[in-house]
């Protein structure tokens, strides 16, 4: 009953001092709002960068043949380097740490594909089973290429969902036979890919089958593998080993940067991770700066408010308020304002972030899905509430302990 009364007294005081209440509330709400928007934007940037890497495994190394630019062991520059199945076997067996691997044999140009009377023109990609992980292919029906397909040169295909749509419409595709350049293949799976639409218009074939069907003999154009949980230096060692194996097999200078093209995604990803860490630190510095500005604002207003109320406090003391009740009054007021305003700022900030992520085009590349960790937001609000309370406490205590006479003399 008494406590309810105290709160009623506080609400009344706040209601009758609208300007002070509004100013304090604004300082707090603004601080929290800015912090939320900042942190959310940082998250948006981070998500944007993650999105850049959504397509392929971030821990992968990709090698493809190039053209030599340096003379080596009596050989002229300008030679094309063409990988073969043996290179793939050697790289996957002799480079330590290779997790999932695949080679690609390029079937150039679009191929005429039909299922009964439905025709289409699509790109073929021939792979090993490990390709599924490297490309992050999601099989949505049936299965992916497996090792038996490779070993037995099976004429099977896995269709991108757009291909399946074009040929089969709503009919089930699994188990049906399609024709590629009039050669029959059996559909064993349908997949989806998070990358661009062109990824979903692909047809996957076992690499061995493709080499046979498209007169590739034992040629390989690209070798790719994931590096497991290798860190950056380890992945660099793996890339070097790969380069050396290929250099020996094809007699080129390992220093020749154009003989083969080697892309280490781990390195790229690590660079972005470093960039993100930098952005995060920056955002936190700005955020903490904002928070400090808010704390200073709240403290200032509380100081002035208590100063302004010295006489009121004197009156309250003269008519029987204890020092404790005076401090309690100021503190509860301060906590109430900062808590309510902080919550408002929090809600407003989250609403703005939500609004922004709604407005953002779905294919936005660098800024996606801004959001904020609720615990961080609550912690920031708590910091402001405590700061407001501390800022109110000291002047309130001084005012409460001052002799009422002195307090009453203040004008």
């Amino acid at each position: 009953m008494i406590d309810f009364d105290t709160w009623q007294e506080i609400f009344e005081t706040l209601r009758r001092n609208k300007l002070r209440t509004a100013l304090t509330g604004f300082a707090v709400a603004w601080g929290i709002f800015m912090l939320i928007v900042l942190l959310g934007s940082g998250q948006g940037l981070a998500h944007g960068i993650e999105y850049q890497f959504r397509d392929d495994a971030v821990n992968s190394i990709w090698v493809s043949g190039g053209q030599t630019t340096k003379p080596y062991k009596g050989l002229q520059p300008g030679r094309q380097i063409q990988f073969e199945n043996a290179d793939y076997d050697e790289v996957t067996s002799r480079v330590p740490g290779v997790e999932h691997a695949s080679a690609r044999f390029w079937v150039f140009g679009n191929q005429q594909v039909n299922y009964r009377n439905e025709w289409g023109s699509f790109t073929i990609r021939s792979v090993h089973p490990g390709h599924q992980v490297i490309e992050r292919t999601k099989v949505i029906a049936g299965r992916y290429i497996n090792q038996l397909d490779i070993e037995h040169f099976r004429k099977v295909v896995v269709l991108g969902d757009l291909v399946a749509d074009a040929l089969f419409h709503d009919e089930p595709a699994i188990g049906e036979e399609i024709r590629i350049n009039n050669v029959a293949f059996k559909v064993v799976g349908v997949f989806d890919d998070e990358g661009s639409d062109s990824e979903r218009e692909l047809i996957y074939l076992p690499i061995s089958t493709a080499q046979r069907a498209f007169s590739g003999r034992n040629r390989v154009n690209q070798i790719l593998y994931t590096t497991g949980d290798a860190d950056l230096p380890e992945s660099e060692t793996m890339a070097e080993r790969t380069r050396l194996i290929l250099a020996v097999n094809h007699t080129f200078d390992p220093e020749d940067q154009r003989a083969i093209f080697l892309r280490n995604n781990v390195e790229q990803f690590q660079r972005f991770v470093g960039l993100m860490a930098g952005i995060r630190v920056f955002i936190w510095i700005v955020g903490i700066g904002t928070l400090i500005a808010g704390v200073v604002g709240v403290s200032n207003i509380m100081l002035v408010a208590v100063k302004e109320r010295t006489r009121e406090i004197g009156i309250r003391k003269a008519i029987g308020a204890t020092p404790r009740s005076v401090i309690g009054l100021v503190l509860k007021e301060s906590i109430l304002i900062t808590a309510v305003a902080g919550y408002l700022g929090l809600v407003l900030g989250v609403a703005v972030l939500e609004g922004v992520s709604r407005i953002l085009p779905a294919e936005a590349e660098f800024f996606r899905n801004p959001q904020v960790d609720l615990r961080t937001a609550l912690a920031a609000t708590a910091v402001l509430i405590v700061a407001g309370a501390v800022a109110g406490y000291f002047p309130a205590r001084r005012a409460a302990l001052v002799q009422p006479v002195t307090a009453l003399r203040e004008e």
Binding site: R316, K317, I319, P323
Partner: protein, 265 residues
């Protein structure tokens, strides 16, 4: 009710010690109506603050209702204040953002009285000072005399034993002052001891006893015949003449030939 012996109080103004009260002896009975007079700086406000437990003495003894008021904690002082003493100030000291009724009810809030009862009591007391119809007004919407009556209602709402009024008429014109004095006389009639600090002789003449302070000591302390404030309104303040007479008598009794006391003003 109040018993003061050899009371001393000094203030420090930078490095200068200002000896304000230099050994006051004073007894005030229950239900007395008296005034404390003196020039500015004579120590009358300080004496009132100590009597009202708003300030503490350096030396000497002060008993309130038989209890020694020494080394009180802030909390205990607040409790005793709220139980025994009501205050009325020259500048009213109402809380500006609270209505008349809320101001009057506030002391009861600090006594933990439930809201409903608080509001009922506050209205009752506002009615007693003739302001029942102004209960919902803010202080700035009231005249000076009305504000002071609200302050008196607030001082009385806890049913104190002593009402201390520090220059209660200092900010009011004489007619309003007399009305306030009438209210204070009515309060005394109900058994509350009323101590009025004033430097106005006409006001002092409406009390039963005058204590005159000079430089922190009691110069003289005499009983007089109280005047009726209502009769004084518009008159040539005969109460003032009585006070001058009392002053002269006191000086004559003491045998001092010089022009002291009330004439000093």
């Amino acid at each position: 009710m109040i018993r003061v012996r050899n009371l001393h109080k000094s203030y420090w103004m930078g490095s200068n010690r200002l000896h304000v009260l230099k050994g006051i002896d004073l007894d005030i009975g229950a239900g007395e109506l008296l005034s404390i007079m003196g020039a500015s700086g004579s120590g009358k406000s300080t004496l009132m603050n100590i009597l009202g437990l708003l300030d503490h003495s350096d030396e000497g003894s002060y008993q309130l209702d038989g209890e020694e008021m020494k080394d009180l904690s802030e909390k205990r002082a607040a409790l005793l204040r709220s139980r025994f003493v009501g205050f009325v100030f020259q500048s009213f000291h109402l809380i500006p953002f609270k209505t008349a009724a809320e101001n009057v009810a506030l002391p009861l809030f600090y006594q933990g009285v439930p809201r409903r009862k608080r509001n009922r009591t506050a209205e009752e007391y506002l009615d007693r000072v003739g302001l029942a119809d102004r209960a919902g007004h803010l202080p700035r919407e009231l005249s000076g005399g009305q504000q002071q009556r609200v302050a008196i209602a607030r001082a009385l709402v806890t049913a104190p034993k002593v009402l201390l009024a520090d220059e209660p008429t200092g900010a009011l014109d004489s007619q309003t002052s007399y009305e306030i004095l009438k209210v204070l006389q009515d309060v005394q009639a109900e058994g509350v001891a009323v101590v009025i600090i004033t430097h106005e002789r006409d006001i002092a003449g409406m009390t039963d006893r005058i204590i005159h302070l000079v430089d922190g000591t009691i110069d003289w302390d005499r009983r007089i015949q109280r005047h009726d404030p209502v009769a004084e309104i518009g008159a040539a303040a005969p109460s003032e003449l009585d006070v001058i007479a009392a002053s002269a008598a006191a000086v004559a009794e003491r045998g001092g030939g010089e022009d002291v006391g009330a004439a000093r003003e």
